[in-house]
C-alpha cells in the first residue's frame, strides 16, 4: 500500500513539473529577448569604420570593374554578329557574285598582257579622276562585253571581255574609254539602285545577335546582278545621260572625243554584223543612237 502511495506522489510531481516547464522556458526566452534589445548592433558605427578603412570604396570599384568587364565582353559577343556596313558591302558582294559565276564568266585563264594597269591609270589621272582604286577582270566570254560592278567608295571593279577586245581590235585608249563609260554609268548609281532589293537598307550595318537575318536577301541581290548583266541592261534614258556626260568629259580632248566616237561606230558595226554580239543592244542601247547624241546639233537659223 505504501508502495502505491509513493508512486502516486511521484506521478503527481511529474505532472506538476511538466505543467511548469513550458512557462519557465517562455519566461527564459523573454529574458533573452530583453537581453538582446539591451545590446543592439550599431550598424552605423560599423559602416563608419568600413568607410574609414576605404573598404566600401574598394568594394564599389571592384563591383564597377566587374560590371564594365561584363559589358565589354557582352559588346564583343554582340559585335561578332555585326552585319556588313554600307561602306563594306558592295565590293564584297560583287566579288562574291564573280566567284559564284566563275564558270559562266570564264575568268580563270591565262590572259594577254594589255598593259592596262599603267594605261588606264594614266588616262584617269589626265582626266582628273584621282585616288580611284581599280580592279579589271578580263573574262573569256562574249556574253559579258564590259561592265562596272558596284563597289565601295573610291574603288571600282570592271569586267572586260577578251573576245570583245580582240574582235574589235581595241587599242589601249579605246579600252580606257570603254572603262570610263562604265565608270560614269556606275557613278550615276543605276546598278546599285537596281540591285538594292527590299530589306537591304535595314540589313546593312545592323546586327543579328539573338535574331536571324534573311539569307534569301543575298540570293535576291545576286538575281538582280544576273538580270542586269545578262538580260536587262540599261534603258535609253540612262544611256542618253551617260553619253552626254561622256561628251562633257571628253570634248576638251579632241583625240579622246574622236576615239570615243569611232569606237561607238566600231561597236555599232559589230552588233549589226556579228550574231554573237546581238544581245549587246539589249544591254547598252544603242551605239548608233549614242553617236547621234554625240553629234553637235545643227540649229536652224530663221
Amino acid at each position: 500500500m505504501n508502495k502505491y502511495f509513493r508512486l502516486d506522489i511521484f506521478l503527481k510531481s511529474l505532472l506538476f513539473a511538466s505543467i511548469l516547464a513550458p512557462t519557465y522556458a517562455q519566461e527564459k526566452a523573454k529574458d533573452d529577448a530583453v537581453n538582446i534589445t539591451v545590446e543592439p548592433i550599431e550598424f552605423d558605427r560599423i559602416k563608419q569604420v568600413l568607410e574609414k578603412d576605404r573598404l566600401g570604396k574598394e568594394a564599389e570599384t571592384k563591383k564597377n570593374k566587374i560590371i564594365k568587364e561584363k559589358k565589354a565582353l557582352n559588346r564583343k559577343k554582340v559585335a561578332l554578329y555585326d552585319l556588313p556596313s554600307k561602306e563594306d558591302f558592295w565590293s564584297f558582294f560583287s566579288e562574291y557574285w564573280i566567284v559564284k559565276n566563275a564558270t559562266v564568266l570564264k575568268w580563270n585563264f591565262k590572259k594577254p598582257e594589255y598593259g592596262l594597269e599603267d594605261s588606264f591609270k594614266e588616262f584617269l589621272e589626265k582626266l582628273g579622276i584621282y585616288e580611284l582604286k581599280f580592279k579589271i577582270l578580263l573574262v573569256n566570254t562574249p556574253d559579258v562585253t564590259h561592265f562596272a560592278l558596284p563597289s565601295n567608295a573610291n574603288e571600282i571593279i570592271f569586267l572586260v571581255s577578251v573576245p570583245f577586245i580582240r574582235t574589235l581590235d581595241l587599242s589601249k585608249l579605246e579600252i580606257s574609254l570603254l572603262l570610263l563609260e562604265d565608270y560614269v554609268r556606275l557613278q550615276k548609281g543605276y546598278f546599285k539602285d537596281y540591285a538594292s532589293v527590299k530589306g537591304l537598307d535595314s540589313f546593312l550595318g545592323s546586327n543579328s545577335y539573338e535574331k536571324k537575318w534573311d539569307k534569301s536577301l543575298l540570293e535576291k541581290i545576286s538575281e538582280k546582278y544576273d538580270e542586269l548583266i545578262f538580260d536587262k541592261g540599261f534603258n535609253f534614258q540612262q544611256q542618253y545621260s551617260v553619253t552626254t556626260r561622256m561628251n562633257k568629259l571628253l570634248k576638251n580632248n579632241i583625240k579622246w572625243w574622236n576615239g570615243y566616237y569611232l569606237m561607238l561606230g566600231k561597236i555599232d558595226n559589230l552588233v549589226k554584223s556579228n550574231i554573237l554580239y546581238q544581245k549587246y543592244l539589249k544591254i547598252y542601247p544603242s551605239p548608233e543612237l549614242q553617236k547621234n547624241w554625240l553629234k553637235p546639233q545643227n540649229k536652224k537659223v530663221l
Binding site: A102, Y114, E131
Partner: protein
C-alpha cells in the same frame, strides 16, 4: 698526297658554300586579302601549293642575308610549303578583312573549298591599279 689534299679542299669548299647558301626565315608578315594562293613559281599563273586566308602568317625566306624577291614575288614559307606570294598581298601587321569584321555573317555564307580557291585565284587574275594626285 698533294692530289688527295686538293680533292679534300675542293670537297670542303663545295660543302661550306652549300651551307652558306642555306635558306633562313627573315621575318613574319601577314596575308592581307580575303583569300590567296602560295604559288609554286613567282607567277600568278603558277600552280597553287595552298590556299590561305586573310591574316595567315607568312614567313619570308632569305638567302645570304637577303630576302628573295623575284619580280614582285617574295619567296615564302607557309606551313610545310615553300613557294611565292605577290608582295602586294603581304603586310607587316594583321589587317582586318571582312571575315574578321563580320565573322558570323561570313561563316553563314558557307563558302565551299572550291569557292575559296576561286576567290584566291580572283585576286591573282585582277589587273589592279590606283590613280594618284600628280
Amino acid at each position: 698526297m698533294i692530289k688527295y689534299s686538293k680533292i679534300l679542299f675542293i670537297m670542303s669548299f663545295i660543302f661550306f658554300s652549300r651551307v652558306e647558301a642555306k635558306e633562313e626565315i627573315s621575318r613574319v608578315v601577314y596575308f592581307n586579302h580575303l583569300f590567296g594562293h602560295v604559288h609554286k613559281n613567282p607567277s600568278r599563273y603558277s600552280q597553287s601549293l595552298s590556299t590561305i586566308e586573310c591574316g595567315h602568317p607568312v614567313k619570308i625566306v632569305k638567302e645570304k642575308g637577303n630576302e628573295i624577291l623575284s619580280g614582285n614575288y617574295f619567296k615564302v614559307k607557309v606551313g610545310p610549303y615553300l613557294g611565292y606570294i605577290d608582295r602586294i598581298y603581304l603586310s607587316n601587321k594583321k589587317e582586318k578583312c571582312i571575315s574578321d569584321k563580320y565573322p558570323k555573317f561570313f561563316n553563314s555564307l558557307n563558302l565551299s573549298i572550291s569557292e575559296m580557291y576561286y576567290w584566291g585565284k580572283l585576286n591573282d587574275q585582277y589587273v589592279q591599279g590606283e590613280s594618284k594626285v600628280q
